[in-house]
Symmetry: C2
Subunit: 126 residues, 2 copies
DNA sequence: CCAATATATTACCGTCTAGTAATACGTTAC
DNA sequence: GTAACGTATTACTAGACGGTAATATATTGG
């Protein structure tokens, strides 16, 4: 059972509490442990602290002391940099999905002739 | 400890064997359990079978019998569809990463005047 | 200094998980 | 039919994980 970097990244993300912490930091900027813990009434503060340690270990957040508070912030660069190599392997599927989205948008907004039959050719419209 | 859909997705992806299976199916198309198992000399065939059940449970692969062989194939649509909502939350960071990539490309290829004020911000040059 | 606050660490628990071996099941070959 | 094959399932084990409570460490206020 090798523990690759990607393993650790996905395992870190495979917990809704940790993902919510990332979401909160992304939405509201830097937050202290207490502020974060206040968002999880069902969890004890030390539990949040442990999750933050896990996120720090993965490099997804970083912390700096301010007085007796520890202020955490999202390390979005790490998130992107660590996830990109794996996502890139499925590049063509993402392109395909984007094209389908575009086709759907064209269809609904009518930027393309709505009378045309559905999507005979999905990979290029004129 | 809620077990959301996203939880299950990330947990399924948080195993290098399962990710390798997905990679193999993406590269080489449809494969039988035996063909897949042959790629993992350190694992027993039934272990691969169990991983495939997990992947099926997540909808990331599907199977069809051909004689006594079970042929598995990648369900890339599910992968993209299930991962997109979460990725979309960090949309702006992906854009930022793409821009940095573009800036880097411009800089190295010189498609833009290196002296231009294009990238006054964001990239500290020397 | 002392008390209160804010966070981290430790010990412990129940649960989940990846792995194996053994077994069962369905299919083809003889 | 029977044996061999391909895959799935079960039972089991060791280790990891999420959670709590209790304790420890550091910092501020009085």
């Amino acid at each position: 059972m090798r523990a690759s970097n990607t393993d650790a990244l996905f395992r870190t993300l495979a917990d809704s509490t940790r993902r919510q912490i990332l979401d909160l930091l992304a939405e509201r900027g830097c937050l202290s442990v207490g502020q974060l813990a206040a968002e999880f009434p069902d969890l004890v503060a030390s539990g949040i602290s442990k999750h933050l340690m896990g996120l720090r270990g993965a490099g997804l957040v970083s912390a700096s002391r301010h007085g007796r508070k520890q202020i955490y912030r999202l390390e979005a660069d790490t998130l992107v940099a660590d996830l990109t190599p794996w996502l890139a392997k499925y590049e063509r599927y993402w392109f395909a999905a984007l094209e389908r989205l575009r086709d759907l948008a064209e269809e609904s907004t009518g930027t393309d002739r709505p009378t045309s039959r559905k999507n005979v050719r999905r990979t290029r419209s004129r």
